[in-house]
Amino acid sequence: MPSAMTLFDRVWADHVVVPESADTPAVLYIDLHLIHEVTTPQAFSVLRERGLSVRRPDLTLATMDHSTPTTPVSSFQDLDIVSESAANQIRQMEQNCREFGIDLLGFGSDERGIVHVIGPELGASQPGKTVVCGDSHTSTHGAFGALAFGIGTTEVGHVLATQCLLQRRPKTMAVTLDGAVPHGVAAKDIILAIIGQIGVDGGTGHVIEYRGDAVSGLDMEERMTICNMSIEAGARAGMIAPDDTTCEYLEGRPRSPQGAAWDESVLRWQGLRSDDDAEFDTAVTIDASSLQPMVTFGTNPGMVIGVNDPVPDGAGDASFQKALDYMKVVSGKPMSANPVDVVFVGSCTNGRLSDLRQAAEILDGRKVADGVRMLVVPGSQQIKQHAESLGLHQIFTAAGAEWRESGCSMCLGMNGDTVGNGQLSVSTSNRNFEGRQGIGARTVLASPATAAASAVLGHIADPRKLS
């Protein structure tokens, strides 16, 4: 262990049960295991086949979000589940949690929502914890100074049975954001710009720590948006050192430490930072003052430009041209030349209250353009209730948008909320892969403000023109 430590080094060292050697990986202890219906059934089957129990159901938090309907219903019996196999998966999740003694925040729970939204919202995601989930966007929880990363279903089984994972120590990358973020530039724009700079494989094998004045100035929801998309740069995880902003967010939440335990935790969390002379394997610096609203133009999140910039030229690169052809966009023209069919505001990236507020500010007193379908899906049932108490749902519905129950929804389109073949979608989600939002769907990733402005104007638009 070097004398100067990074934030990652500290969290890693605190969870090593058995150190790694040339022959074997480290045994790493997991403090919070988030589970959902899609990536767990086969893991529970392994436990059943081997007669194993869940070692720490108290450190396991379960919900249902991926294949769940978001259409409003009067009773949970009326749920319109997309297919019999999805309904079976949901029933199996309920049965698995019952059988293995895990609390499930399922239908009927006011605390249900997207797994990466409810962990922080309930105060379960805390500084210094190791957090895993069978979902790549687990990197979200790194916003709290946790080491949080996505795993496969086999590893879900390992954590259920042993509360541990076999892990090789990853490399570290510092992404430093200096300067002031200009007005009208959102956290989504920042992370899209970062991915554009380092590339969709630039972070492979690394845990990123986001640092610098521009990061310290972000609120927790903005930090979550940034850490969430670390995986889109290929990184294992993204982390931000905890500070007063982190503590203010967590204090008083149902699963946060209470009383004397709170004071002890805050003291411990204050030590969770990188030493000034800590060394990172890779370092990247970005001038935050030069950033602008960003939109993707291709079929991965690294194919991204300023909202008013022309689509670049692929210079004969076949994969690049294939992406442009799929998106039906033309080199040299700005993305504003493209009419919009669908706008989606939601997801674990941008489905939190501040995201809904930013979209509502643009939509207030305006209408969604003719021919544009807009879907607003809160990240959790709590966010839904909070937004409704502020009247945001009325702004959305008055503008002509649909207001839904919480869930992953159109981010990955496995619950029936999909974009039609060939349609152009401006989406606040995290992946613009071919067909991600539906067969033949053309996805443009953007911030909630850019998505809302695009809904109003009917083409991809700079939100600063409407704010």
């Binding site: 089957s45 070692r55 294949s67 998966q89 994969s319 496995m414």
Partner: protein, 191 residues
């Protein structure tokens, strides 16, 4: 698992994500079996379910080939283990590229699908010579090319040990139960 010999199918596109490998709508299954039919579904089949002719897997010469040569950064995106399950169920035993996304690589090794990383020159040659026969020596971590040259590929020592000895990683972790219990007992704070 000691050595594998087969021909290659080439999918030259970069950054093939796991949504391409298996679209999300096929993830409502509760088993690992039968996903091969959905492998690369929307690249392989048109809206009416007919083969898309110029997709490499639909080439008659590709039938039965167990090695997939793919563009850089294969398997990026979603952590879905359904991606290696689908590749294996279809009949692939190894994927060869210049880089793999971390979670896909981990998931593959846990299912005995070999992610083989090669240098750019070897990769370029493989991309332009679809259908060649290759041999993978798992014990020695080498990929043998038709000209007889054997290229060493990087693999974690423990992953190789598990592959060659048939070690079950969950069983290995369960042997650490005493250390895990001691860790839980001795840590200075409780989650």
């Amino acid at each position: 698992m000691t050595s594998l010999k087969s021909c290659t199918v080439v999918l030259p596109t970069r950054d093939i994500d796991t949504d391409q490998i298996i679209p999300a709508r096929f993830l409502t299954t509760t088993t690992r079996e039968g996903l091969g039919d959905s492998l690369f579904h929307d690249l392989r089949f048109d809206a009416d379910g007919r083969d898309i002719e110029d997709f490499p897997l639909n080439n008659k010469a590709a039938k039965g080939c167990q090695f997939l040569v793919a563009g850089n950064n294969f398997g990026c995106g979603s952590s879905r283990e359904h991606a290696p399950w689908a590749l294996l169920d279809y009949g692939f035993r190894a994927v060869i590229s210049t880089q793999f996304a971390d979670i896909f690589r981990n998931n593959s090794l846990k299912n005995r699908l070999l992610p083989i990383i090669v240098d750019v020159d070897t990769h370029t040659w493989l991309l332009s010579n679809p259908g060649v026969e290759l041999c993978i020596d798992v014990e020695r971590s080498t990929l043998s090319l038709p000209d007889g040259r054997a290229v060493e590929y990087p693999i974690d020592a423990f992953a190789r040990y598990c592959l060659t000895q048939g070690i079950d990683q969950l069983g290995f972790l369960q042997q650490q139960t005493d250390a895990i219990a001691a860790f839980e007992e001795q840590r200075t704070w409780q989650p």
